[in-house]
Amino acid sequence: MNHEILCGPSFSVLEVTLAAGERIVSEAGAMAWMDGNVKSETTTRGGVLAGLKRAVFSGETFFQNTYEADGGPARIAFAPGVSGEIVPWQLQGEDLLLQRGAYLASTEGIRCESRSEGLKGLFAQGLFVLRATGTGTIFGDAENFSTACSMSTRLCIVV
């Protein structure tokens, strides 16, 4: 899978080229354009509860879309709702905590769930953040206005 950040840095769009059979997951509503041979599937990824937690607590979408290149290579582009940077991040089994609403897309090996920050979260970003685990690439965006700034200042790796 190859990816390219187009139109950056102010109005970044993520364009991914999938080999036949490869898949990528995105938040609902983020697809901007894609080739005709891309199949999509909408699920809660992780069950109803995981979807609900993600949506209610972490400012993400209840459903996530999985796109697959069917029968040949295909490209697909994802755009965040607001302008800003898109940052790819490689994960190899460790956790990544993301600001509410910062998730755009990821490779299939990555799971996203909501995680409580406890009381201290109330004073910072909100009670819940999004936790990504697994192996692969995750694409984050500066979607959340309230702290809109470059992603790099809002991503941190938890040991």
């Binding site: 102010s10 938040e27 609902a28 354009w33 206005f145």
Partner: protein
């Protein structure tokens, strides 16, 4: 006529230099400045082909009812500056007589008066697509200015391309599209958050914008303070 587009792309504007006898047409309200020898005529159509019906047709494209026509009056060159509503890029499209363009109404900024503007009704598919009921058809020979929320991407289609309706700016008439569902079934499509998409087929060029104004509005809306009475 030549057009200067400000570099950078973030908050673009176009500066149109007019020679005597040349005319340029834009959305009413798009002008930011004009030299003193520019005459501005506000009508419902370009080249007298419009009338009230033309204006109403344009309203259905999501565009303005009135068009402004700019022309120099004193035989000396003049200039007029135009700016779109959204922050983003402005691009020149050279329209040739053998290929007309169809433009999403909200993306039209202006056109040379040598071009003919009329509306193409999209019927049910326009309504379903979440876009406007009609597209603006630009034909003839001359320069068309389109604008975007964000940046513009131009690509050639030879085969098939699926586009989220909010990202469409303009396409050549050689392409046709139908409104389609993105997923396997209609429920899936509704859940996917994409709504309807446009499935383009044929051979031609398409211009897309990086960001979707409707989605941008949905995200911005809840953050705005309540309106004071």
């Amino acid at each position: 006529m030549h057009i200067d587009l400000s570099a950078g792309g973030l908050f673009a504007r176009a500066l149109v230099h007019l020679e005597p006898g040349e005319k340029f047409v834009s959305d009413a309200g798009a002008m930011i400045r004009a030299s003193s020898n520019i005459d501005i005529d506000v009508t419902t159509g370009s080249r007298g082909k419009g009338g009230i019906l033309g204006g109403i047709g344009r309203l259905l494209t999501g565009d303005t009812f009135f068009l402004s026509t700019y022309e120099v009056t004193d035989g000396r060159p003049g200039e007029v500056g135009l700016a779109p509503t959204h922050m983003g890029e402005v691009r020149e499209v050279n329209v040739s007589p053998d290929e007309a363009w169809l433009c999403a109404g909200g993306s039209f900024l202006g056109a040379a008066s040598t071009l003919t503007l009329d509306t193409r009704f999209q019927g049910l598919r326009g309504l379903l697509g979440g876009e406007s009921l009609a597209l603006l058809r630009v034909s003839g020979s001359g320069t068309l200015l389109v604008s975007a929320l964000g940046m513009l991407t131009s690509m050639e289609i030879d085969g098939e391309l699926i586009v989220d309706t909010g990202h469409l700016v303009a396409f050549t008439e050689g392409l046709s599209y139908k409104i389609d569902k993105v997923g396997g079934g209609w429920i899936n499509t509704w859940l996917s958050g994409e709504g309807f998409v446009m499935r383009f087929t044929g051979k031609g060029r398409i211009i897309l914008q990086s960001h979707n104004p409707t989605r941008f509005g949905q995200m911005l809306g809840p953050l705005l303070p309540e309106r004071q009475a």
